[in-house]
Symmetry: C2
Subunit: 112 residues, 2 copies
DNA sequence: TTTTATACCTAAGATTATTATGCATAAGAT
DNA sequence: ATCTTATGCATAATAATCTTAGGTATAAAA
């Protein structure tokens, strides 16, 4: 991912979330989509992306389908049934995390 | 920290933020404060906390002051001048991160 | 024709956390 | 009186996740 360590741990959730919306995507497409959505704030590096995709596949959350486009190959990933369920959980955790961090970061919590 | 990997990378910022509000705190106090503020959602483990405090100190962001309370010792940490400045940056980054993650996680972003 | 974009991949190293210890004092419970 | 829990510090082995730095190859643009 980019340079900020804050994103550490959130890559899998980001991938799952994108696949929840987009049905099937290939690696490079994911990096571009994230870059676009975040207006360049987050640039997923390939060294982080591909191992993450392989892990999600190994864990049974993603299925792969290889396609030949011209003379190049693409590996399309999509959510498995289990992956669809797990995505709901991961997003729940993410939202809880974001809420908690807002509390910690927002000013003037010390009154209580 | 607790069990969720999402918090990975945010511990230093959390510590700096607490010290921005509380002037000086000791390790155990930090764990309890975080637990209280997050209603138990986040439990900072000692194995994460103490190395993080030592790192912040080594980086010149924190100063230490040892105090004897009864027969036990406490190590109070407070922000250095540099630490105060850096806290502003870290919080800025954190807010940017949270905003970005909201975009990625929130439903129906794919319209654009 | 050289650079940039597309498209996949892995390996060494760094960072940061978890888990499991260790030591020690103080307070509360049986 | 004694055992457990809370307070308070710390480190070391392991795991997970990322950065950095490579590698291969096709296609498009400069």
């Amino acid at each position: 991912m980019g340079n900020q360590k804050l994103y550490k741990g959130s890559l899998q959730t980001i991938i799952l979330r994108l696949l929840e919306e987009n049905d099937k995507m290939y690696g490079y497409e994911i990096t571009q989509k994230v870059k676009e959505l975040t207006k360049g704030e987050l640039e997923i590096t390939e060294g982080a992306l591909y191992p993450a995709l392989h892990k999600l596949e190994a864990d049974g959350l993603l299925d792969v389908e290889v396609a030949k486009v011209g003379n190049r190959l693409r590996k399309y990933y999509k959510l498995t049934e289990q992956g669809t369920k797990e995505t709901v959980n991961r997003l729940e955790e993410m939202k809880e995390f974001l809420k908690t961090m807002e509390i910690l970061v927002n000013p003037k919590f010390s009154l209580e």
